[in-house]
């Protein structure tokens, strides 16, 4: 079952990929509905396999399937082995389940697009790689998936490659991820050196010496900051919104960006060995959650708000991992996958209805025009705010609770997350009010033409809405070891606090934006992080380049010129001798001969031979 789960998307990728390659040759375009149906069926089959695999899973065990020997290096043999346990099973269900819905949604979202075949091929490739990532039983396999999803993400961000901005957004994502991948690779080497194996089951149990554990944790976390868009490598995610909206929902909200949390949860026994590493993770997670929530309050683009919100929610998850509550982090991965995919798909539906308009200040009053989108978006909104009984309430509350009471948690992390939660409520309510309430601020014809999306788009919205509503009752889906509690604050206090906080943020936004005639705010890049990066790293690179350019010109080329000049000089000196007269050469020859004869004669006289 595990093998078939991973093979279905691959088959879909191969069929769609070859077909659209062939059709590019022959000039006939692939009908989007057919290739979309193939891709969706592949994903649905994978989802069914994942469900069956889940039902076969022993309660606290794992299923392993050995596929083939991947490679042998000296004494190290790495098998291609799939391993399903509770954690990876949850991820496979989210990937294939949400993936299926998003594939279905894409059929109608991409129905006008010429490259639909290619799109679905990439989307299936992504799911295949993502399943590799979560099912891989060795670090190289996880790395294969890790790189594979990066590739698919790159391809899909730059999917509309005719616009240069999209292409450079894809490149930005790829390059930022490469920085993280370096951390992954080095962490893999450290894990191998100290545990003697690349198998995750062995590395998990490894006991690393103090400093090594810390560096291992920090390197793994560096990889996570790349893939999961945390400070300092988060700036690619907002730009990744250049891709089609379903891609943002699937890759950049629900699945790929959570692979960092997966990795931390997977390696949690090792991660917990380094208290300082955990502190860094918690701190970075919390600060990311806060900073990006602030930025999200100042965005005008509906997808950018959601993108920064995703980064912020990922910060919550990392903060949870950092205080040792890996289970709470994974729980939030699941609920976030539901409601953030829902919000993105809802945003896609709005954008679709308004023919590509993404500015929230040019929306408004869409409540009656798009009823399905509105009601499902409401569910997503309530879930991300953390209003009970929506799913986000359970997971966010768990994170806040653990941040406060866990032994590795602290009031600081809790406080920062609380402020981030207020801001989350603020920017989401702002977005919600600006899009659906008030008076329409777009041209009248656009408003009149706006219509609810067709059924293939509405169905995923409804299903995800239901999951956002009810998904939290499942409770922590994976039982990872809980952190020791240092405080005994009862859970209900935190629940009340988190609800109060959400209501507070929403009220502020309501006061400000409910008037209906919201005046447009300029979109501001609050912390100018992109500008700083381009100043520091771009400028640094340019400075280094010009310095090395100077060295190249003056030193390296100078040396070469010196060699040339020396050759030239010696040539000119010898040239004097080359008079061209045979007799002159003869004279030189005779003189040389005489000198040589005299020299040898002198030697012979000295040694008494003569």
């Amino acid at each position: 079952m595990i093998t078939s789960m991973i093979l279905f998307p691959l088959v879909g990728f191969v069929i769609n990929g070859l077909w659209s390659l062939g059709s590019a040759r022959s000039g006939r375009r692939v009908p989007p509905s057919v290739s979309g149906a193939i891709a969706t069926l592949a994903m649905a089959a994978a989802f069914v396999s994942a469900l069956v695999a889940r039902s076969q899973l022993p309660s606290d065990g794992a299923i392993e399937v050995e596929c083939f020997r991947w490679f042998t290096l000296g004494t190290l043999a790495v098998d291609f082995k799939l391993r399903l346990d509770a954690l990876s099973s949850l991820f496979t269900l989210v990937i294939t389940g949400v993936g299926t819905l998003i594939h279905l949604y894409s059929i109608s979202y991409m129905s006008e697009d010429e490259g639909a075949g290619k799109y679905f091929a990439y989307l299936n490739l992504f799911c295949f790689m993502m399943l590799n990532l979560v099912l891989g039983s060795t670090l190289p396999q996880v790395f294969l998936g890790w790189e594979g999803v990066g590739l698919a993400s790159y391809l899909l961000i730059g999917f509309w490659y005719r616009e240069e901005a999209n292409v450079s957004a894809g490149q930005k994502a790829f390059v930022m991820n490469r920085i993280g991948d370096l951390g992954f690779l080095i962490a893999m080497f450290i894990g191998f050196k100290y545990s003697g194996s690349l198998d995750l089951a062995v590395i998990e149990k490894a006991v690393l010496p103090g400093a090594v554990a810390t560096s291992f944790v920090l390197l793994v976390f560096l990889a996570c900051t790349g893939k999961s868009a945390q400070i300092p490598l988060f700036t690619w995610l907002p730009d990744a919104m250049a891709g089609p909206t379903p891609v943002s929902a699937l890759i950049h909200a629900a699945t790929m960006v959570t692979s960092g949390v997966y990795l931390l949860a997977r390696l949690s026994p090792v991660i917990s060995q380094s208290a300082s590493g955990m502190m860094v993770i918690a701190g970075v997670g919390a600060i990311t959650a806060l900073i990006t929530a602030v930025i999200a309050c100042f965005q005008r683009d509906i997808k950018k708000v959601l993108a920064y919100s995703t980064v912020s929610q990922l910060g919550f998850m990392f903060a949870a991992c950092g205080v040792g509550a890996f289970g709470a982090g994974v729980f939030h991965v699941m609920t976030h996958a539901f409601f953030k995919a829902l919000l993105f798909l809802g945003a896609g539906s709005v954008i679709h209805a308004l023919h590509g308009e993404q500015d929230v200040f040019k929306m408004g009053g869409l409540k009656s025009k798009l009823p399905v989108t509105f009601w499902t978006f409401t569910a997503g909104w309530a879930a991300i705010l953390g209003l009970p009984p929506f799913s986000g309430f359970f997971s966010k509350d768990e994170i806040l609770h653990q941040a406060l009471v866990s032994r590795s948690g602290s009031g600081w992390v809790f406080g920062i997350l609380l402020i981030a939660a207020v801001l989350t409520a603020f920017y989401m309510t702002r977005l919600y009010l600006l899009v659906f309430f008030g008076s329409p601020r777009m041209e009248k014809s656009k408003f009149d033409h706006a219509h609810e999306s067709p059924a293939p788009m509405a169905l995923p919205l409804v299903l995800l809405g239901a999951l956002s509503l009810a998904g939290g009752f499942a409770g922590e889906p994976v039982h990872l070891p809980h952190p020791e509690a240092a405080l005994s604050t009862p859970a209900w206090v935190i629940m009340i606090v988190s609800v109060v906080v959400a209501v507070l943020g929403a009220t502020i936004a309501y006061r400000r934006y409910a008037g209906g005639s919201a005046s447009a705010e300029p979109a501001t890049d609050v912390f100018r992080i992109d500008a700083i990066y381009s100043r520091v790293f771009g400028g640094g690179l340019r400075a280094t380049a010009s310095a090395t350019g100077w060295i190249e010109e003056r030193v390296v080329q100078g040396l070469i010129r010196m060699v040339a000049a020396l050759t030239d000089l010696s040539g000119n000196m010898i040239r004097v001798l080359q008079v061209g007269s045979a007799q002159a050469y003869l004279l030189m020859m005779v003189i040389a001969l005489v000198v040589m004869v005299l020299y040898f004669l002198k030697g012979m006289v000295q040694y008494g031979n003569l």
Partner: protein, 102 residues
């Protein structure tokens, strides 16, 4: 008849060789240069014969015969070249023949 002492012959040989060498270096006429080469060859021949006689060996005599044969061939080729050169350049002056220098 006074027998020549070997050293006298060797002195003559050295002198003739030097005359030939100087002639080759100093004279500009190609024909004279060829003749100088012949002088040097004959000086060497004299040397060979002298040593051969001193050591009572036949090798020197044989070598002289070889040298004379080769010298004949060489001067035939050399003269041919000089004639060809004269036809082309209307001169047998070695200073005029510096085509490779430019």
């Amino acid at each position: 008849m006074t027998a020549f002492e070997p050293w006298m012959l060797l002195v003559v040989s050295v002198l003739v060789f030097c005359v030939g060498l100087l002639g080759l270096i100093l004279r500009k006429n190609l024909l004279v240069m060829l003749m100088s080469i012949e002088l040097m060859l004959n000086a060497v021949n004299l040397c060979f014969v002298t040593f051969s006689k001193m050591h009572h060996l036949l090798d020197g005599h044989l070598t002289v015969l070889f040298v004379m044969t080769v010298a004949a061939a060489e001067s035939a080729v050399g003269l041919g070249l000089v004639i060809a050169m004269f036809r082309n350049l209307r001169s047998v002056d070695s200073d005029q023949i510096q085509l490779l220098r430019d």
